[in-house]
Each structure stands twice: as structure tokens, then as C-alpha cells.
Amino acid sequence: MRDITLGQYYPGNSVLHRADPRAKLVCAILYIAAVFMCRSALAFIVIIAATAVSIALSGIPLRVLLRSMKSLIFIIIFTAFINLFLTTSGELLFRFYFIKIYSKGIINTIVMILRITLLIAGSGVFLTYTTTPIALTDGLEQLLAPLRKLRLPVHEFSMMMTIALRFIPTLVEETDKIMNAQKARGADFGTGSLLSRARALLPILIPLFIAAFRRADELAIAMECRCYHGGEGRTRMNVLHLRTPDFAIMAFCVILCIAAALINTYIPIFTLIG
């Protein structure tokens, strides 16, 4: 329990690892947009090639990426089946009692699987694998900074994220301790019906919550003692700077988006969907 790692960060020193988190956030958004714009086989080929290049740039082994797909395999299979069996347009290809499979269904299924796989790979490569959660939080804060003018609590949000990230390991450790204390007094968490198991968790959650509130109180005082007074007039030690590689990867994603749109409009061959 002690060695939990947050998120899926895969340590490395690639171009993407070193890139500004803001640039990577922008890239991820552009990439997702590009994936959803793809409507023809040609567009998909372009985006698959681009994804392959990005994976190569990130230096993340393919098996690590595939491992993250494994946890989503159920969702992929589920969407695939829904598309396969519930699409009722195109030619009827196969019929077995009430199961009817149409040509359009097969195409939709392939497109869905491709999209989900690409989304997981792309967002992983641009964000979760190459960016620590804390860098991501900093990036979000600075990217959304203009929204402060609209009185959105951008700084407060990022502070909350930082504190949550800081205290998750501490609370996990504490949960462990409380569970051991309860086990030592004969508590049983492993057997019984789902309901009784859930009920057995109550004596863990209550002390955990009380301790968390006490921590929050002490932390608030400690923060006040260190002159914390919200985001106003606050500076940062690590200022993010956009460098040439950051602009390069963003340009790459912009081109990808434009390419997807152009291929859809001007080279409408192998069009798969609508």
C-alpha cells in the first residue's frame, strides 16, 4: 500500500517529458479533436502514423501503453458489441436468429475501436505518461489563469489539487494503520456479503475522516503561518517557459487537426462514416 504511484507517469527524459505541461495540454486537446474529425480511412492512416511518431518521441515502451489498454478492454469490447449489433444500416451480412450484422455495423465497430485506442494512446503519450500530476496541475493553473478575470477560482482549484496529491499517500498510509488496528481487535474485512463487508469499512472511514479534518485544520494554520493569503500577489519559483520544442509539438498537433479536416473535405476516398 505504501508504494502507490499516482497516475501513470512513466519517468523518462524524452522531448515530450521535458515539454511544457501547457503545451502538452494544448496538444492533447488538439489531438483528441483530430481523432474525432477523422472520417475516412486515409485520415485514420495519417493519424495512426502521427500517433506512432509521438509514441516514438515519448520513448514509452509499447508494452506499457498496451498495459493501460488492458484495463479499458471491457469498455472497448462493450462499445464494439453495441456498434456491431445495434447498427441497422448498410447491407445485411449475417443473420442468426435475432442477431443481425450489417456492413455499416462492422465499419462503425472498427472506427470506434480505432478511436478509443488512439485516444488512450494519444492522451497517454501527451499527458499522463509524460507529465507528473503536479506538473499537470501547474500547467492547468497557468493555462487557465486568464479565467481568473471571470472570477473563476483557478488558483484555489490548483491549490486543492496540489494538497490532494500531497495527502493521498499520507491518507493511504493512515488507512493502512487504522485497518491493522481494527484487524488486531478482530475486525473482519474479507468475508461476508457485500453489505456486511461495506459495513465493516465504516469503523475505518470514521476515524479516517476525523483524522483528515484534524489534519486539514492543522494544515490551514501552518499555511497561514507561512503567510498564505490566496493567489493574489503570489509568485512561483518555477515559472513555465514555452521553448522551441513546445511550439514544435503544438504545431505538429495543429497540422494534424488541419490535415484531418482537409482529408475529410478534399480527399473523400475510403470514407468510413457520415
Binding site: 503536479i134 500531497r166 499555511m223 507561512r226 503567510c227 493569503h229 503570489r234
Partner: protein, 295 residues
């Protein structure tokens, strides 16, 4: 020492809490204290003697109900009125290290936590960087700069917390039972740093503690009991009053207690010795003098 100008002066300060059933419980009852710049003061007392309330008042987390607090000769806190700018200025100059090392570290990376204070003060990034590096070096945690705080030992976390305060360049640091949750080696690490800060950087130290041996390292000990100053003096003066200490059920260092018992058995011994070596020397000298032991 006494010729120096006081950095903090407390005049007739009272503070009370409201208990769950609505009664007022007095935490501090008209206490006056003055703390000299550059001194190392230990504050001793039982739970509920008002030690932590005192710390919170000095740091302006609380404001006194009665009485006034002066910082560097300037009145900063009194009943009711608080100037926010004055409050932040005092908090920068009077740092505070708390008891639980876990609950005062804000960031997920050691150096970013140390930067938290200076960031709040709005200091330019490059200067924050310099201050963070210097603060980490001062507590000997430079090699852990990029580590995650939750993987450090208690003593190391507390050193990070001290670095976080140092980076704000305070003139005075209050340690509110900062060693209470640490193991013996952690305590020793932290006490070593506290002494160093006091001697080398002339930072005024207010050490709130339960530990007599820690208190003995100070220049001056203030004992609080029931919200009042019960005793105030050098460790020698304080620990020589064994009866008075025992009257409020406070311990004296083992060595002092040992010599006190020997004296009551008829051996002539000096009072207020608590260093083990000095104690041994004094006992040996007394025994030689009494002719009970031959070399």
C-alpha cells in the same frame, strides 16, 4: 543578554477559549514576558498550561482578549483590531514550526514546499530559487530537494518544515512541540539545527517543549502553569528549584533529580547541574571531599 532590545514583548495578555458547554476556559491569564533578540527561550508547562496559545498569539493566529503584544517595539496585536499588513509582516518575521511534520508540508516535492512561504510573499522567482537552495543547505537536506515529502523520515520532514520557514528569512522561530512526534535520532537532528540557527544566525528561538533535556539547552526557561508565568530564569536557576518544579508535577532532568536526592541524603552538592559529565564531576568531587572515596 538583558541589555539587548526585546524582539517580542507581551504585556498583560489574557486569552480564553469557549468550551463545548459554553463556559470560558482561561488559557492565558494576564501574562507578561519580554523576549530578547537573539535569545533561546524554552517554554515549559503541562498540557493546557497555555503554551500553544502563547505561540499562536505571537504568530497572530490568535489575538489577545486583553493586553498587547509588541514586536520590535511596535504594537502589533491587541484586543479587536488587527491590521492585515502588520499581521503578514509579523508572520514573516516570526516563523513557526508545528508539532506534526506531516500536517505542515503543502507541496509534493521538497523544494517546492520550501518555496511555498517565499511564493506567498511575492518574491521574484530567481530569488526564491536562491533562498530555497540556501534554506535546504542550512538544514542539510539539499540532496533531498527533488524527493517526495511522504517518503522522508519524521526528522527529515521536520527539517524540511524548518527550511520552509528559513526561506522566509524570519528573525524569530517558534517551535511548537516540534520534536514531540519524532524518534530520538530525529529529535537530535532537529535540536542540532535549532542550536545552530540560534548561534550562527542569531535567530531568536522560542522552543515550546515537554522535554527537560531540550529545555536545558536554552539560555532561559519560562514555565507556564494555569495560564501564568510560574518560573522564569536560566536553566540552572530553574532546575535548582526541584521542590518548586515538583509542586506542579513537572520533572527536572534526571541528573538534577539524582543530585537533589543525593543532597537530601546529606552530600553537599551544587545545584542546577544537568549535564551528565558535570554531574559526575560534581558527585565525584563531593565524595572525595567527604572522604568516602579514596583515589
Amino acid at each position: 543578554m538583558s541589555a539587548k532590545k526585546p524582539i517580542i514583548e507581551i504585556k498583560n495578555v489574557s486569552y480564553s477559549y469557549e468550551s463545548i458547554d459554553g463556559r470560558r476556559i482561561s488559557a492565558l491569564d494576564g501574562i507578561s514576558l519580554s523576549i530578547e533578540r537573539g535569545s533561546f527561550v524554552a517554554v515549559l508547562g503541562h498540557n493546557g498550561s497555555g503554551k500553544s496559545t502563547l505561540a499562536k498569539l505571537l504568530n497572530m493566529i490568535l489575538t489577545p482578549e486583553k493586553g498587547e503584544i509588541y514586536f520590535d517595539g511596535e504594537r502589533v496585536s491587541g484586543p479587536g483590531d488587527i491590521d492585515e499588513n502588520v499581521m503578514y509582516a509579523v508572520r514573516r518575521r516570526v516563523g513557526m514550526v508545528h508539532q506534526n511534520p506531516d500536517n505542515q508540508i503543502v507541496a509534493t516535492i521538497v523544494e517546492e514546499d520550501v518555496a511555498f512561504g517565499p511564493e506567498n510573499l511575492g518574491i521574484p522567482p530567481q530569488e526564491i530559487r536562491d533562498r530555497v537552495d540556501a534554506a535546504l543547505a542550512a538544514v542539510g537536506m539539499t540532496e533531498y530537494a527533488r524527493h517526495a515529502p511522504h517518503r522522508l523520515s519524521g526528522g527529515q520532514k521536520q527539517r524540511v518544515a524548518i527550511a520552509g520557514i528559513l526561506a522566509m528569512m524570519p528573525e524569530c522561530i517558534i517551535f511548537d512541540e516540534s520534536t514531540a512526534m519524532l524518534d530520538p535520532s530525529g529529535r537530535a537532528e532537529v535540536m542540532e539545527i535549532i542550536k545552530k540557527l540560534n548561534k550562527e544566525r542569531n535567530i531568536t528561538i522560542i522552543l515550546i517543549t515537554h522535554d527537560m533535556m531540550e529545555a536545558a539547552m536554552a539560555d532561559r526557561i519560562v514555565i507556564l502553569n494555569d495560564g501564568r508565568v510560574y518560573a522564569d530564569g536560566t536553566p540552572q536557576e530553574i532546575f535548582s528549584q526541584v521542590d518548586r518544579m515538583r509542586a506542579i508535577k513537572l520533572d527536572v532532568p534526571e541528573t538534577t533529580a539524582f543530585m537533589y536526592e543525593l543532597s537530601s541524603l546529606g552530600l553537599t552538592l551544587p545545584r542546577g547541574v544537568f549535564n551528565v559529565r558535570e554531574c559526575a564531576e560534581a558527585v565525584a568531587a563531593a565524595l572525595f571531599a567527604a572522604g568516602k572515596v579514596r583515589v
